[in-house]
Subunit: 470 residues, 2 copies
């Protein structure tokens, strides 16, 4: 019954409005005020899911979903999730289910090799990988490890002097992680990027900021470089940034949440050049790697740095295997004690697709984005705001008569009009004062026809707006 | 195919050794060195799961699993997980899937009412509930909120003066959360408990510690009280502790990770007396509430305290609904940005069981533990170490000729012998120098016959050990 439900959902997902059209509070009007005392049959519950939940879903799995970044599930990803749910183990340490720990280590080495990550990030090179829930957790863990490395030298009382670096395009996860870790919120430096460097950091842009912080008696300790920023998929130059960081003993984390997946294709691997001098690297397999939420892959060169900060070993968890030091206890590599068997779905995706097919699918998404980009470029009423790096196209309408502010307003209106149609869903970015529409290809069900139809829709909505306005 | 696999797994789970019997490194010998280039059929993969993964699983779902605390999945919990995996939405804010947010708020109010939590913890009373992954996250979030509340008054530079309180039986999550949040590790106070208070805090036990901290110029700010400690399910007295805390403006978090579920039964609700003066309360539905991992329910009286510490609002997430302030954006109530649709499984469990049945099942587990307790008590070679509160029995063998140390060694040997048999799995605690065996009933598939057989096994293994030793 549930399998039928899921099959039907995927069969029909294209028909639903992509962005949910409900109003705030819609659901409490439809559900009872309290839990029922008596059991209800699954049939009835599934019927309610269809009637009351589905309308409130924004359909991330729709082939017409081009918002944010994709959340590219797959059938085999779902099967993997089902298997780990079936076993429902609480894999805090090796003992609590050896297969969960060992499969994770193996799969992280496999994926690391597919990315040609430098050996020191792999278990086979004395580093290692771990599956976190999301990049937010990966960044928090590495930031805390880096913080404690410094505090052990300079003393706890100097925590207020620590400074974190990123760009004005770095994901908000870094500021939030710093805030959680007790770093002074005034000590986050969002180094300015500009259109001339395509909104990436320039090789020496952090230099002056670091220098003036040091002169002010502050202590630089963490830098987050991004491969594929959230707004425009900008790429920071890893090599030069790591060189600067090394001089100041700054931990460099590379956030490749979205774009990291593409780097299993040789033609994209160059974006990771320089990663050999970073300390940690992460990507979200649940974004663009066919693995359902959540599944963030984090590799570190020095697992002991994580363990020193995150280890607990209460009596009730003591066991022979942990004492032997022959095993990995992943609880000491993450925030939480309990952990799900996430490697199962990643293993299934890797095996069921195979490396060749994974590359093919990623390339097909890039090709779809390229098609969309060409369509935009061929219409003089629009412009590509920044050149495309991966499968995201940032564009906007630019009727010539408008001021910068009017152009922003027009694109805001255009996007809302497109999304209100329910036929596709895209989101926006506002970078250096420019409001742009983001078209993120990468849905597992998306085909070229969806891309072409999406473009037609954009044109139609622009025309409708311009007809009314002028 | 996968459904058949899952059905077979549950049919056979009783036959597998409960605690996995593999040696460290077993899996890398069985799997290839790198990911395959070509796709592999699901049949082959499932066969490998059966042959290579299942032996490395410690079977938390076995009816003979009595270790740690239960991880009580259920068929309907699995269905709920499947549905949320099917939709695979990234529910960071209301807009990204209104149903995910609204169902969570509704279900948290339902469950709060089932627990008769005071109104100020519910949305309907201007508080509110949120689903975290685990208690570790719940504690970290509340601790950071409490920290920042104080730092806003006393200034950031005083972070090194903040002090956290718990007992020597409080879960290690509290120390880890404090460590992550940048609290000086020397400023965690594990207040000593004793057997005379059944390893719970006494009403005024934190008083002298708090007083001397204040005299030393330190600033108390967070206290974690536990309902059902990990080692022995001890209960801290909420009322008196909250009273002390209030005097010093200390945030009180109530960790009822395991035992909270039982409090939906009126006869157990008294353990929560005093919660009305606490600031936050959490329980793990994935422990003893038929909901698969992960699903921690956290209620707070003042959601704005969480939001002030954990909110980010980058441009690309801006949307009309959030601006309207009519909606909850749960990203601001937790560590991570992305979040799974966890309320689906909790909703399905509540509806499919119904409150009456849920109580019945919880009571049946308590009854099984009582049965086991009576069996232990009727055998003079054993003793119950602390009276049972819920469905955990702490016991040990106490042959009269042995010293305290010898008794510990004997019980250690006994437990290892029992677990090595693969027939059941129990774990241990070491409290006030006493090594005890923990028998945690609560497996969804466990019946009275499993409990009786487990007890027979304990007796047999003791006899075998005594025969060899003497």
């Amino acid at each position: 019954m549930i399998i039928d439900f899921i099959a039907d959902y995927y069969k029909n997902v294209e028909k639903y409005p992509v962005r949910s059209q409900v109003e705030p509070g819609y659901l409490s009007k439809r559900l009872p005020e309290s839990a029922s005392n008596n059991p209800e049959p699954i049939e009835k519950i599934l019927q309610d899911v269809q009637e009351h939940i589905v309308p409130g879903i924004t359909h991330w799995q729709s082939p017409n979903y081009f918002a944010y970044f994709p959340s590219s599930g797959s059938i085999v990803g779902i099967l993997g999730e089902m298997l780990s749910t079936c076993f429902n183990v609480v894999g805090f340490n090796w003992m609590s289910s050896p297969a969960a720990t060992e499969l994770e280590s193996i799969v992280m080495d496999w994926l690391g090799e597919m990315l040609t990550l430098p050996k020191p990030f792999l278990f086979s090179g004395n580093g290692g990988g771990v599956l976190q829930g999301t990049t937010c957790e990966a960044i928090l863990c590495t930031l805390v490890a880096a913080r404690d490395q410094v505090l052990r030298i300079i003393g706890r009382e100097n925590i207020t002097k620590l400074v974190v670096y990123g760009s004005d395009q770095t994901h908000s996860a870094i500021q939030k992680a710093a805030q959680i870790a007790g770093i002074n919120p005034n000590n986050f430096r969002a180094i300015r990027t500009t259109k001339s460097s395509l909104f990436g950091l320039t090789p020496d842009s952090p230099l002056s900021t670091i220098k003036s912080d040091v002169e002010a008696g502050l202590i630089p300790f963490f830098l987050c470089a991004t491969i594929g920023t959230t707004s425009t998929t900008a790429v920071d130059p890893l090599g030069p940034l790591c060189k600067i960081a090394k001089k100041h003993s700054i931990w460099v984390h590379v956030d490749a949440a979205y774009a990291g997946s593409a780097c299993i294709c040789p033609e994209f691997r160059h974006f990771l050049d320089g990663v050999e001098d970073a300390d940690s690297f992460s990507l979200n397999a649940h974004k663009w790697f066919f693995t359902t939420l959540d599944c963030c892959c984090l590799w570190v060169k020095d697992p002991s740095a994580l363990i020193k900060s995150l280890s607990t070993y209460p009596e009730y968890l003591r066991n022979k295997a942990s004492e032997s030091k022959l095993v990995v206890d992943y609880k000491d590599w993450q925030i939480t004690l309990s952990r799900r068997f996430r490697s199962m779905k990643l293993w299934l995706v890797l095996r069921s697709y195979g490396v060749t097919n994974l590359r093919m699918f990623l390339r097909s998404h890039v090709k779809m984005a390229k098609t969309f980009e060409e369509l935009v470029a061929s219409d003089k009423r629009f412009e590509i705001v920044v050149p495309r790096n991966f499968a995201l196209v940032c564009f906007r309408a630019v009727p010539s008569v408008l001021s910068a502010e009017q152009a922003n307003e027009l694109n805001r209106e255009l996007l809302e009009s497109i999304n209100a149609s329910g036929k596709v869903y895209m989101t926006h970015a506002l970078v250096a004062g420019i409001y742009m529409i983001r078209f993120a290809a990468g849905g597992t069900l998306t085909e070229e026809r969806h891309v072409r139809e999406a473009w037609k829709l954009v044109q139609q909505h622009l025309e409708a707006i311009l007809c009314v306005s002028f």
